[in-house]
């Protein structure tokens, strides 16, 4: 079962299912460059100020704003 990353449970292993193709091209490309592709294992560490999502990809940590995170679909592993 999939859900938006912004609504995903915290600290559970997740797999990035899809990135909304309607996201602006430069944003999708930046996500790709950071390794946020379909199939990548990620964890939602916590929600930060403004609803931003602090996520872990391997040993790396990123912050995505809530709106962008809501356009990434994840599935629990």
């Amino acid at each position: 079962m999939t859900c938006p990353l912004s609504d995903a449970p915290r600290r559970c292993p997740l797999r990035l299912h899809a990135v909304d193709p309607d996201l602006p091209h430069h944003v999708r490309r930046r996500l790709v460059e950071l390794g946020l592709l379909g199939g990548t294992e990620i964890t939602l560490d916590r929600k930060a100020i403004g609803g931003a999502c602090l996520i872990c990809v391997g040993t790396t940590r990123y912050v995505l704003d809530n709106k962008t995170a809501s356009r990434l679909t994840v599935a629990a592993l």
Partner: protein
Amino acid sequence: MAAVCNCHDAAWRSAPAGSPVITVVGAPNSGKSTLFNALTGSRVQEGNWPGTSVEIARGTWRVEGHTLDLIDLPGAYSLEPASPDEAFTRSMLLDAPPDLVLVAVDADALGRGLYLVSQLLEHELRVVIALTKTDLAPAIDTALLAERLGVPVVAVDPRRRRHLADLAPVITATLNATPQRLRQAPWGGELEAAEERFTWIGTVVDGVVDKRASRREWSDRLDAVTMHPVAGPVVFLAAMWVVFQITTTVAAPFQDWLDGLFTGPVSDALRGLPLPRILEAILVDGLVAGVGMVLTFVPLMALMFLCLAVLEDSGYMARAAVVADRVMRAIGLPGRAFIPLIVGFGCNVPAISATRILGRREHRILTALLIPFASCTARLAVYVMLATTFFPEHAGTVVFAMYLISVVLIVVVGMLVRRLLWRSFGSEPLVIDLPRYQLPGARMVAQVTWTRLAGFLRTASTIIVACVTVVFLLQATPVGGDHDFADPELPVAESAYGVVSEAMAPIFAPAGFGSGEITGALITGFVAKEAVVSTWAQTYPDEDLSTAITRDFADTSGGHALAAVWAFMMFLLAYTPCVATLAAQRREIGLRWTLAGIGLQLGLAWVLAVATFQLLSVWL
């Protein structure tokens, strides 16, 4: 810029002609500039947050008897540019390839760093990988990684200058090898190509990284506080308040000592020399009174730069960008625009250059127009002088308030300009990588502090000396009466300077500081804000500056001195920061926008100053 520069351009080469050219590249915050500085002994701006280097630095590295020509390029996650600085990096790597590409790869973000490497290997280049931040990352088998990539991998620690010697023989050997294309560029669209590259990276790093290593627990726990919806902004404001308290209270005794030194022994020693009267006047009343007064602010500047360097090297600034994101969003700017704006609180000139990290031209223009409202450290010197004179019990809080007003001004002006000019901006998403917190390194902090302090001293020794000399000459030139040139009895009001200042003074009468003595400093302040205090010091050569300023503000404001001081500080905050900032703006956003910015700054500054005085004079 990208169209005219290439790695082999002799015009900006620092090494002897014919020296092999090595470009240092890497993802933002990969430790690239730290590595460049460690190898060349240069002092490029560095910090533990993304987007620190946007200027290109070039230096020499002497290795095993020969000289290498190193170029530090702006950080890039990939060879597909999303902003002008990334486009420049691509152009420098592919249009006129260097003799070798040294790639800084953050060991703690190995997969992300190898994405750029995977693209470089798709071109005929000599590539060497410097694995940075290995002290923070899980253990990595560099030999296995090198074998799988097909290029040398050397683990280095540029922050502590360790293992740098290991790079030399590898670089020398690679320079003697033939450049090779080690990977086929993937077929298909951009997304398919990226997937193929990350699949390849997955194969490369499999078994290379020790996955048993512990996670960064204390760093993660700290994030729970620094990015908390409530605690995050409180921590941010508290950190800034502490910085201003430290700078104003700790620096005070050092400032007093330096002031005593310049007005006492240094001035007395010069007066004791057998010099012609005019030369003595230039030296004592001009240079020592003016430049000496500016130099008393060196301890304050040093402390401010030190505190900011500690915050930057600790990794906190990336968290501050997240906290500030909502504010940036209100203006319609991306979270990344926080980086040039926060740089602007140090100095507006590099901040204008830092707008290159933004992808859209409208974002760059708006950010460059807002940066002059970020209160730079040159303005800090004037705030501190006025705050310690008029609000001695609350000087730190007054200075902190000026910085808060600066932030509010940026937001309000940003919202207004956006609504007027770019209604269709939309909000930009925040996608930012968080570096691990680290204990600030003494060497790194000292280096960053010194680099910035040296910039302040360069300004003091060039623009301010020029300003001080011009002000002295104008003050020494009589325009009436029976005085000779440089007559020590010549009143300022009867000098050329006094006439110009008095002509301007009525403009500021509604703001409560319509006196030639006070407003004259605003003219030199247009050239550089550091010159404001020095001009006052020259205007009142035989008086205690605090006493003279207190008297003048009281006289011109009709008894509302405190209201007039606030109005003056508001004008100082909002009007044109310095000519160097204007030059940087002209370079980045063009003459038309620069002129529009000057109009905005002067108009807004006057309105703010008048409104402040008229409002506060009811109570103060």
